[in-house]
Amino acid sequence: MRKVTSGHFISLDGVTEAPYEWQFDIFDDDMMAAMTDHINAVDTILLGRVTYQDWAAYWPTSTDEPYASHINTTPKYVVSTTLDTVEWGTYQTINLIKGNLADALGRLKQQPGKNIGTAGSPTLARRLLQAGLLDELTLMIHPVVVGKGRRLFEGDEALQRMKLVASTITKSGVAILTYRPA
């Protein structure tokens, strides 16, 4: 059965905004292997509105591989009730989920395929977790306290117990922890 998954670059103090400002030399072989595994496990991407608007302006013309090909050619669904249309450069791989999210995800999960993964989109990830729609949450905890910036968890969520399903660390000190809701 397909899983809805969500992975995040996150600082030790929970910041997910602007990772390029605090990732430093984190992209070692271990990290590249983890990113590759992630790309290979997902064949459908979910985006929140803000991430969609940022990324649609960048990725369609980017040559940063293997990420550009992955993100441009993989079917994407933007979750938004305020947008009417979505575009992704000249690619026809973008769709909009405006209505009931649980129903839309239920239909996607019934189709054969790999995992359905969010990219960026911390607000959407939070919403999926709180709504019981997230099967797996992966935090790539970087060895840095950033202090400022938006966080994955805003401090007003309901209590949610989780179960640790995998943990590994990279040579550069990122702790990659995967949880599922308990």
Partner: protein, 188 residues
């Protein structure tokens, strides 16, 4: 070299206690207790803020004598009762716990002085507000964070008031059967 080590149990969303100080969500299995005991054995000095000190002062002196004392209570009581205890406070009037001393100001100088003396490590467990002050002063050498598999939603955050980026080095990580992940960092 004597290090200042901070040990904290933390939720996945970075809280060290619920909004009213609740700590019932903290998971402590046998293996974790043993690892905490091994850590305390590397320290001979315990550092406290006033709030934690006052809670501990009322509990540990007699904890080992209680008929329901667990093996861990007895071990930890022995360690903390004999350790040199420093409480960082301007308002606490007296520290009645044996082998305690109040430090009212000049914290960086006091810590530097202690680190020059021979001895084991200095360990702070809990004491969130004091831990934050120490972090901001750059006085914490090692972080031992036990990340619990729970999103608390609301509570008292560990990291607050950090003005600058703090780079750390991950020394070791350990996943416990309970799903807690111990992350051991040193200053980068």
């Amino acid at each position: 070299m004597r290090n200042v080590i901070l040990l904290m149990h933390m939720s996945l969303d970075g809280f060290v206690a619920g909004p009213d100080g609740e700590m019932d969500w903290i998971q402590l299995d046998e293996q974790l207790f043993d690892d905490v005991a091994a850590l305390t054995n590397t320290a001979d000095t315990a550092l406290f803020g006033r709030v934690t000190y006052q809670m501990m002062e009322g509990y540990w002196p007699t904890a080992a004598q209680s008929p329901t004392a667990s093996k861990h209570d007895i071990e930890h009581a022995h360690w903390v009762n004999s350790a040199s205890k420093l409480v960082f406070s301007r308002t606490l009037e007296q520290a009645t716990w044996a082998n305690s001393r109040i430090v009212r100001d000049n914290i960086p100088e006091e810590i530097a002085r202690l680190k020059q003396q021979p001895g084991k490590h200095l360990l702070m467990i809990g004491s969130t507000r004091t831990a934050q002050a120490f972090m901001q002063l750059g006085l914490i050498d090692e972080y031992r964070l036990n990340v619990n598999p729970v999103v608390l939603g609301r509570g008292i955050p560990l990291f607050a008031g950090m003005q600058d980026t703090l780079k750390l080095q991950l020394v070791q990580s350990k996943a416990y059967g309970s799903g807690v992940v111990g992350l051991h960092y040193r200053k980068g």
